[in-house]
């Protein structure tokens, strides 16, 4: 007669259930903390201080110091070309200016810098942001999207080359995220450019570029996608959106907060 003692596999199973119970309590305490941003980690050696200043309106005060950081082979061209961008006056339409002689020189310089060192890549981004600030890329009454598309193209090229590597880089981490925000903002302007209807192609292109960069729809996010999700969760969540308005809205909102002057209307 069984007098309360367990037989067969029951004791072992009971012991297993107690272990699982303890694991169930323990697992609830696991906390995932946001890793410190690469820029916040202690760094040794010389570095470009406060790189985001060089992407903001005040970049004009500091851009000459980048000449010391750019690779020697590109330094002379950088000094000349950056002066074009930072001394650009008259708010020309971006695409029109890029098609000119100075614009072509800058495009060639940007291509070289993108492929260079991290400081070179950063210098390229500084020039792109300055162009976005000193040229006109709003569609205007003609509903022309090519200027915003041109800015989007410059940013997309930079992001494709440097965003993933820059996700864990103290210098490029924040600038790369800012570049993605401005890219979304520029492509929103391009999508919204026509007087009647929308440029669906701009939306599709933006979604494709950002989805590839962030690893959306893949098994694992990319390092850049992880950083974008950690710092700009609303923007990252919008990458899944199928409606263009929902897709672009967080880019526009974040960009208006960070770079209010970068709206396509030349601030000079």
């Amino acid at each position: 007669m069984n007098r309360g003692g367990a037989r067969g596999p029951a004791p072992a199973m009971m012991a297993l259930s107690v272990l699982l119970l303890l694991a169930g309590v323990w697992v609830r305490g696991i906390q995932v903390r946001l890793p410190p941003a690469p820029a916040d980690r202690l760094q040794s050696g010389p570095r470009i201080a406060e790189p985001m200043q060089l992407l903001s309106r005040g970049a004009a005060h500091r851009y000459p110091e980048l000449g010391d950081w750019v690779s020697e082979g590109a330094r002379a061209r950088w000094r000349t070309a950056s002066a074009f961008a930072f001394e650009l006056a008259g708010c020309p339409p971006l695409k029109t200016w890029l098609d000119g002689r100075d614009g072509q020189r800058i495009e060639r310089l940007l291509a070289d810098l993108r492929a260079g060192t991290r400081e070179d890549a950063f210098a390229a981004l500084v020039v792109i942001f300055q162009l976005a600030r000193s040229t006109e890329w709003r569609p205007g009454v003609g509903g022309r999207a090519e200027h915003a598309e041109a800015l989007g193209g410059l940013l997309a090229d930079w992001l494709r080359g440097r965003a993933e590597g820059g996700a864990d880089d103290a210098l490029l981490h924040e600038p790369a995220l800012a570049a993605a925000l401005l890219y979304g903002r520029a492509m929103h302007v391009a999508w919204n450019a026509p007087l009647v209807g929308y440029n669906t192609a701009s939306f599709e292109r933006a979604r494709g570029v950002l989805a590839t960069l962030c690893g959306v729809g893949r098994r694992e996010r990319t390092a850049f996608g992880r950083e974008l999700a950690a710092r700009y969760g609303r923007v990252f969540a919008a990458l899944d959106a199928t409606e263009p308005a929902r897709f672009f809205a967080p880019f526009r909102a974040e960009c208006e907060l960070l770079f209010p002057e970068l709206d396509g209307a030349c601030s000079r």
């Binding site: 029951a10 297993l16 169930g24 969760g233």
Partner: protein
């Protein structure tokens, strides 16, 4: 021979009980997990577990207060504890992790789970069908909130404002929709990198199913263990006597007669008492049957004739015997 007389007492009930406990514990483990946006494991936090424990404690005390019994051996004690933790895990798994939602849910769950049970609680607290259904609905609500939050949409839902929603001006974007039931990331207890919705919800659903089925199965298995125990005690008697006892006190009545959960000695006394009482009743009935006068004529129609015929048949059988 009754069905119970042929029942093997090979510990099948104990195995079922242990399996149910494993299911409850495994379900609790899954309900405590969430996968963050980067695919890392994160805990669901202790606050919902603590509130689940509170609900389970109140439910246990109320359920056991009137008709409860303390567990007898290590197996039933572990099983009763697992039942308590199963309710804790279930409630902790379906509660919204924070904010005013959580307290409303808590009130409703306390009210539903703490009602007294009709049956005797000999093996720890139980959750009935209504309770499990309510918990299931709350899980669906939590999954909905999690879905919204995974899209960084921090409200239950939005309603388009008629006409305004259709106007093509960007500056009225904030007026296009009305927000219903806003909440925050902190309330949801999300990891900082967000949540992997499909994987996390799969874990929670599997955990809920395991826990709920485990609790249901544990109740049945606990009864099975008690049936095996009572049967084993009756089998101590000589086979003919055991057969008579099992006929006098059928297995289906054992729970209602309060056999389950009693210590060995008290169980034996209770069985003795019930057998004595039923034998006494049987003798009184037989005496009454023998002495009753068969007044209505045999050929009278309807109910009196039917009763007379049955009594006459009994007497005839008795005389033949």
């Amino acid at each position: 021979m009754s069905a119970a007389a042929g029942r093997p007492t090979d510990g099948a009930g104990e195995s079922s009980l242990a399996l149910a406990c494993v299911m409850i514990a495994a379900g609790g483990l899954l309900l405590g997990m969430q996968i963050d946006g980067n695919g890392r494991l994160a805990g669901a936090g202790y606050a919902p577990l603590a509130l689940g424990g509170l609900v389970a404690l109140v439910a246990s005390l109320v359920q056991l207060g009137r008709k409860g019994r303390l567990p007898r051996g290590p197996l039933t004690a572990t099983s009763a504890a697992m039942s308590f933790f199963g309710i804790t895990f279930l409630v902790g798994g379906v509660l919204v992790p924070g904010g005013s939602w959580m307290f409303w849910e808590l009130v409703v769950l306390l009210w539903v789970l703490s009602r007294r049970r009709a049956r005797e609680q000999f093996a720890g607290p139980e959750v009935g069908g209504a309770g499990l259904s309510l918990l299931g609905l709350m899980l669906v609500f939590r999954i909905w909130l999690t879905w919204q939050a995974s899209r960084h949409s921090w409200q239950l839902f939005t309603v388009d404002v008629p006409l305004v929603a259709r106007l093509p001006f960007a500056w009225i974007d904030s007026m296009r929709t009305l927000t219903v039931g806003a909440f925050s990331q902190q309330e949801m207890g999300f990891p900082p990198t967000g949540i992997d919705f499909p994987v996390t919800v799969s874990l929670w659903s599997a955990g809920f199913a395991l826990c709920a089925v485990g609790l249901w199965m544990r109740g049945h298995a606990a009864r099975e263990v008690e049936i095996e125990r009572v049967h084993a005690l009756i089998q101590v008697l000589p086979p003919q006597a055991a057969l008579v006892v099992e006929r006098l006190v059928p297995e289906a009545e054992w729970e209602a007669l309060g056999f389950f959960g009693l210590p060995e000695r008290r169980l034996a006394r209770r069985i003795e008492g019930v057998v004595a009482e039923r034998v006494q009743r049987q003798m009184q009935l037989e005496g009454a049957l023998r002495s009753v006068r068969l007044l209505p004529p045999a050929d009278a129609p309807g109910f009196p004739a039917g009763i007379r015929k049955a009594l006459a048949e009994y007497r005839g059988e008795e005389e033949e015997a």
